[in-house]
């Protein structure tokens, strides 16, 4: 009974909320008002039913919290332990991605290029936000710095893609370190605001320094990457960029994973957990923070160079705050600190809108709903970061663990 009244209240509330939008339609030509009462009925029934589902989901979540140690997802568990299984899964995925441009259309290839660019961007940001715990809202600025580094070097000095790729990464990393100096003492919300400001500063500089950057009209006719000195056709170059970005994404995944598992990565995690204890344990706070920013933004720089080479035209509108917000959403949605999570997150946020073009009018609503549901039901993200396994040389321990099993 209580449930029923609750749901009744919910449906009444939704009827009230959607009344102006769904029911009333003013015809401005004939000066009449159209009342669509059926919509209200649909709304009432729909929200009445959904409120039951909602409460059931919430209860299930509470139950899951109470139940100790649910068995882990068998697939991810096996991915970690069974070596042959791991190799075949990754090998299959790699083969699929390697053959992609020959199977699907150029348009689809382009979508996958942008998906993998976001993987690179997300993994970079994951070092800063997920591992080191520094809320960073200016990632798109470094993406832009990388892109403009290549665009301008190409425009003024004719420098090619392969030379510009490392330069773009280094310039973005240096810019990250330069930003890190003034924000060393900031944490949390304050840090977020400063990085947000920095992102806007970079965009405004690009927009207003017309002599150098071409202002809002951007830089066009950027060279596509060469294949050992050969110029490729547009379609060929597109496939080539696809392979470059695929290799780059794989390099990024491996590099970020290794960094996370290293001495440096542990120091970053310690910084996230407790700054004072981290210093008391002999970690140089300043050094580690600078490293976090530099290591994170370098990947944005690489992604930027590839982006400029892919589109051959860039302007500041590609590097707005909205872009930073998307990258941050990828990290948060995927699971802070988890690389697999970031990949799934960018698949979700980049590929879904492309394949759900039919619902493109409702894209932002779906996006917002996904975020809200995610924060309620899985605040740790799609994939929670998994701890690393260590090899322990202890016969006693092996004996006790063997006894348990």
């Amino acid at each position: 009974m209580q449930e029923l009244t609750k749901s009744l209240k919910v449906s009444l509330w939704f009827m009230f909320l959607t009344f102006p939008l769904m029911v009333v339609r003013v015809n401005t030509i004939e000066h009449t008002v159209e009342w669509r009462w059926m919509n209200m009925v649909y709304m009432a029934v729909g929200s009445f039913a959904l409120s039951f589902v909602w409460r059931w989901a919430l209860r299930r979540k509470e139950m899951a919290k109470a139940a100790p140690e649910r068995p882990r997802n068998a697939f991810t568990e096996r991915l970690g332990s069974d070596k042959r299984f791991t190799v075949s899964v990754y090998g299959g995925l790699f083969a699929l991605f390697a053959l992609m441009p020959w199977i699907v259309s150029t348009y689809q290839t382009n979508i996958f290029i942008s998906f993998m660019l976001y993987v690179i961007l997300g993994l970079g940001l994951n070092i800063i936000v997920g591992v080191a715990g520094l809320l960073f809202l200016g990632h798109a600025a470094f993406y832009g710095i990388g892109a403009y580094t290549y665009a301008l070097l190409n425009h003024y000095y004719g420098i090619g893609f392969w030379t510009a790729l490392p330069i773009g990464g280094v310039v973005a990393a240096l810019a990250g370190v330069v930003l890190a100096f003034p924000v060393l003492r900031l944490r949390g919300d304050y840090l977020a605001i400063v990085t947000l400001g920095f992102g806007e500063i970079v965009r405004l500089v690009l927009e207003n320094w017309s002599d150098l950057t071409g202002g809002p009209s951007g830089v066009s006719n950027i060279s596509r990457p060469d294949l050992f000195g050969h110029h490729l056709s547009v379609a060929g170059a597109n496939t080539y960029v696809y392979y470059i970005v695929l290799v780059m994404a794989i390099v990024t995944i491996i590099a970020v994973q290794r960094l996370k598992d290293s001495r440096i990565g542990r120091a970053l995690q310690a910084l996230r957990e407790d700054e004072i204890a981290c210093q008391a344990m002999g970690i140089d706070r300043v050094n580690v923070k600078l490293m976090a920013f530099g290591l994170g933004t370098a990947w944005a720089g690489f992604a930027g160079v590839i982006f400029a080479a892919k589109t051959t035209f860039i302007n500041p509108a590609s590097f707005t705050f909205f872009e930073s917000a998307i990258i941050l959403s990828i990290v948060v949605l995927g699971g802070m600190g988890s690389n697999l999570g970031v990949i799934l997150g960018s698949a979700f946020l980049v590929l879904m809108p492309e394949y759900l073009r039919a619902f493109s009018e409702y894209r932002m609503i779906l996006f917002a709903m996904a975020m809200v549901l995610m924060m309620i039901f899985r605040p740790q993200g799609l994939i929670a970061p998994k701890g690393r396994k260590y090899i322990i040389n202890d016969p006693d321990l092996a004996a006790t663990e063997g006894g348990k099993a």
């Binding site: 290293s262 542990r266 310690a270 981290c278 970690i283 321990l397």
Partner: protein, 261 residues
Amino acid sequence: MATVLNVQNLSKNFGGLRALNEVDMRIDSGEIVALIGPNGAGKTTFFNCITSIYTPTEGEVRFTPKSGTESRINGMKPNLVTGLGMSRTFQNIRLFKNMTVLENVMIARHCRTKGGILGALLRTPAIRKEEQEIVDRSYELLKYIGLHRYYNDLACNLPYGEQRRLEIARALATEPSLLLLDEPAAGMNPQETASLKQLVLRIRDELDMAILLIEHDMSMVMSLSERIYVMEYGCMIAHGTPDEISKDPRVIKAYLGEDHA
């Protein structure tokens, strides 16, 4: 016996408030020294000053590691002080809560290892060897403290008493010459306190280091320490052996009030 820590005329002001007023202290190698005093006397401020988390306003802090020369450490970065060989625990436990017990200890090996970014990316044999050494050494320490069966649990899931012990293990992993314990027995039951006492003695004897502890548990302080310093209102009001301290009228006054003196 060689002096490990030599503090002279140490003062610390917070704005107009003088939290420490011309405090002196000397600790010799292999000694267990206690620092006691009523709440708010400035004991933890003193700890923070000698470990450089605060910069002292005036005075000298001189530290001599086991194998090394004396150096003046006030105003040094805290991580360098730890690197020299002074390590501490915290009054309100400051573990890395969302990392495993083993990782907590591994982090403390940071200042004794060198692996950099390039090494991490390329994962050279030298780096891999260093990593395994960090794991082995950390696990060994956990075993020494008696926490090895928890090694893969998150630090925040440990029982309270074990969290305090983990803090000690973490401090030991930096290979200190002087170990500072800030109320290690706070919130422990009598059995835990007793085993902690054994642990402190064992650390001193087997690992050969000086220990300075802040503690309110008087039976522990009296039975454990060789010398005691007493603070009140930021000043050092007395120091001596446990016997001398328990008879000192100023100490009794500070703890029990005017009438009992």
